[in-house]
């Protein structure tokens, strides 16, 4: 199927006559795969480089321009048992990767400076208690300054710039006390060195920078990794569109290559990959991914269609548009902007801690100085002691306390099939006390399922499946899949909008609408029992059967709902689908609170009503109609099959057929939040122990260095406890 993908959009010329292609490869998970793929592909003549990236499950290929058809690589990988799709790094991912690399470079500079300064500091510390000459000590201090000042000026820039922008916005963040601490410590050390004093804190300052950068890097790297994985998922969906390259000629191109204004052909059974307006043709379409409504709708020229729409009966020509004129999308974008603004006001745990922390620390330092002055100490000694208080309280452990837990917890979530989109997702998911599920595509699987297979004889099912292979209708496709059919029947005609018919064993055979097969009575019987189902009838000679095709609940949905309730989380269903369908799902799952036929605006209203009652809501949904609610809720999750917009606003995306990742996300996040709080308390305890020593004026550079690294290591070790994975 992917043989007809047009690769030209993804090929990059690298100069020297070489072409570069990036592939996202599904199923690379061990060193064996890596070696197998690299060895096999590099035996293709004219391939100059084939390198697997195991962390990101990607493969970078380079070959001589024009020598190899890129399809060959995809086919070769398929022979080896891997599905591969071309992909393009999006802007967000490139940015995250560049930031992560920048932080790593600064961390390297700070760490090397810290190591070299330590080599100079240890002689000074031991010399102070033995017989070092003051000139030698000064010389070592000057050397330290020579190393630390440029290193700090370069590597501490992220803190300085973030502190400056916070101050400019008249706020305080964690970086303000950090920057003040670093600048004061360095300034004091330089002045003390000029005055031939005994103590300088160059080593403490640069070590602090290195530890804090390590925390930042962990945080950034986690984000980069999620982005990369999300990029792979987008590539593995391999969305293509059939584009008119001239009024009469069509070509299959990747959806990413479609520009606004392009005209796209949609055939029955295809899922639309772009937003746009119908310019020609009529068809029934399944908009369940977008509106949650499972009954098909009719589109005619002028109607808006959205990415994710499934075409059921007719062929359509659609003009792709960037900002569709469709009222639904307009309204959703407006609601979304509003909801996202509200969310940006959420204060992260680290910010809340720093709002408390900065004033307390600075007041303590000031009081120390005033206290010593009142006690009769010299102005110089009072200031030195006050700065020592700032250095010892500088939030080394605080800077690591949260990123370290987040990194470990997001690794654990990754293992359970949950990808985090937002940096503060863990904190927000941990706080929720109510889950609102959308029904269609979230509690149910996006693919259709035949519900009454057991009531129909096996040989009939097999025959119907073979007949269904001749139809592109998605409901017929579901029957073919469930029957495991592989060989289509010969000489079958399709009646558009009705079904397929032909001859088999000398008797007429039909599959399609109940009226087409004369099975209206059977169909009504099924619809009375299960109003949500689509009925497909099958007739062979005189015998008639009706298949009930419907969306199936995720296999573990009921267990997950029970477990959530047991954890004290209230569960509710809010769906855009019809009432009988929602009631049936709610009854099957044992959910008492449910709402049906809810519009996007009403979904937000319901969430706001709950917020007023003091609830913190986790919204789980997939449709375009859920996007504003996902943004408005305290936290949100989407299945990986969701529309682009929903995935982009959700805090987390979960993979696979099961609903268990939602439960895992809540459990792991709660545990992680507990560890974050513990870590903050550990940092507080450390300060309570260390600050009195600093206030008393007893802190030497040796004590500062030991205290700083000691507290950081303790916090890191505590964070590793989040690794113990929840049994899911």
């Amino acid at each position: 199927m992917h043989a007809d993908i047009d690769f030209s959009h993804y090929l990059k010329k690298t100069g020297a006559g070489l072409v570069h292609l990036d592939l996202a490869v599904e199923g690379i998970n061990c060193a064996g795969c890596m070696a197998k793929i690299e060895r096999n592909l590099s035996t293709i003549p004219d391939v100059t480089s084939a390198r697997v990236n195991l962390t990101d499950s990607r493969l970078a290929l380079e070959w001589k321009a024009g020598a190899v058809d890129p399809t060959l690589f995809v086919n070769r990988l398929a022979e080896l048992g891997y599905k591969a799709y071309p992909f393009e790094r999006d802007d967000a991912e490139t940015l995250e990767a560049r930031r992560a690399q920048g932080l790593l470079r600064r961390l390297g500079v700070a760490a090397f400076a810290a190591m070299n300064v330590m080599m100079l500091s240890i002689p000074v510390w031991s010399g102070n208690v033995s017989d070092m000459l003051p000139e030698q000590r000064d010389f070592f201090h000057w050397l330290s300054a020579l190393i630390v000042l440029p290193a700090a000026a370069y590597s501490a820039q992220p803190f300085f710039s973030s502190a400056l922008s916070a101050l400019r916005a008249r706020g305080v963040n964690m970086d303000v006390p950090i920057s003040i601490g670093i600048v004061l410590a360095l300034a004091m050390s330089v002045i003390e060195t000029i005055n031939h004093a005994e103590h300088a804190y160059f080593d403490a300052a640069i070590m602090l920078i290195a530890f804090l950068l390590a925390g930042r890097y962990l945080d950034q790297n986690m984000r980069r990794r999620t982005r990369a994985f999300a990029g792979n998922l987008a590539a593995l969906k391999a969305e293509t569109a059939t584009k008119f390259i001239s009024p009469t000629e069509i070509k299959t191109v990747p959806a990413a290559a479609i520009r606004p204004g392009d005209i796209v052909l949609l055939r029955p059974g295809e899922r639309c990959a772009v937003d746009g307006n119908v310019i020609e043709g009529r068809s029934e379409v399944d908009q369940s991914l977008i509106t949650g409504e499972t009954l098909p709708a009719m589109v005619t020229p002028g109607s808006a269609v959205f990415a994710g729409t499934l075409v059921r009966s007719g062929t359509l020509r659609v003009r792709a548009s960037a900002a569709s004129g469709g009222t639904l999308l307009d309204e959703i974008s407006r609601l979304l902007d509003h909801a996202l603004q509200a969310r940006s006001r959420y204060l992260r745990l680290a910010e809340r801690a720093s709002r408390l922390y900065a004033p307390v620390v600075h007041a303590t330092a000031l009081l120390t100085m005033l206290g010593w002055l009142a006690w009769g100490a010299s102005f110089h000694d009072s200031i030195v002691t006050a700065i020592a208080v700032l250095i010892i309280t500088c939030p080394c452990a605080l800077g690591l306390a949260i990123p370290a837990v987040q990194t470990v917890a997001s690794g654990a979530l990754f293992g359970s099939g949950v990808l985090l989109n937002a940096g503060d997702a863990i904190e927000r998911i941990a706080e929720i006390d109510r889950v609102i599920f959308d029904k269609t595509g979230t509690l149910t699987l996006p693919e259709l399922d035949v519900a009454n297979l057991a009531e129909i004889p096996d040989d009939v099912v097999r025959l119907a499946g073979r007949l269904a292979l001749s139809s592109r209708h998605p409901v017929a496709a579901a029957i073919a899949r469930y029957a495991g059919a592989a060989s289509p029947l010969p000489d079958i005609q399709e009646e558009p909008g009705q079904g397929v018919h032909g001859l088999h064993d000398g008797r007429p055979i039909r599959l399609g609408r109940p009226s087409f097969c004369g099975a209206d009575d059977l169909a009504n019987e099924i619809l009375c029992r299960d109003p949500e189902a689509s009925v497909v009838a099958f007739s062979h000679g005189e015998s008639r059967y009706a298949f009930a095709v419907r969306q199936r609940l995720r296999p573990d949905a009921a267990e997950v709902v029970t477990d959530l309730v047991r954890m004290g989380v209230a569960v509710e269903i809010v769906s855009g689908d019809r009432e009988p369908a929602v009631r049936l799902a709610a009854e099957t799952l044992g959910v008492h609170e449910w709402r049906a036929e809810v519009s996007p605006v009403d979904k937000i209203d319901r969430i706001e009503e709950l917020v007023r009652q003091g609830c913190k809501v986790l919204m789980v949904g997939d449709g375009l109609n859920d996007a504003p609610a996902l943004a408005a809720a305290h936290a949100s999750m989407s299945p990986v099959t969701a529309t682009h917009m929903s995935q982009a606003v959700a805090d987390a995306v979960f993979l696979g057929e099961r609903l268990a990742p939602v439960l895992a996300a809540v459990k792991v996040s709660r545990k992680a939040l507990r560890l974050m709080r513990q870590n903050l308390w550990l940092a507080v305890v450390y300060n309570v122990l260390a600050v009195p020593i600093a206030i008393a004026g007893l802190v030497t550079p040796l004590i500062a260095a030991a205290a700083m690294s000691g507290s950081s290591v303790i916090v890191m070790l505590n964070a590793l406890r989040a690794r113990a994975r929840e049994a899911v």
């Binding site: 061990c30 890596m34 060895r39 697997v52 195991l54 962390t55 390297g108 080599m119």
Partner: protein, 55 residues
Amino acid sequence: MEVLVFLVPLALALGFVGLLGFLWSLKSGQYDDLDGAAWRAIADDEPASDQGRSR
């Protein structure tokens, strides 16, 4: 203590070389795939008949 005249610049120069080495390794993409790098180190060498290791 004249030995310091040699030792201190030598130590600083070595530290600087280490830093340059780190920056070079970062620039040449050696930190892009940490999981893969861990396995490459213990991967079996290919038979001599092949044209060296696949790059």
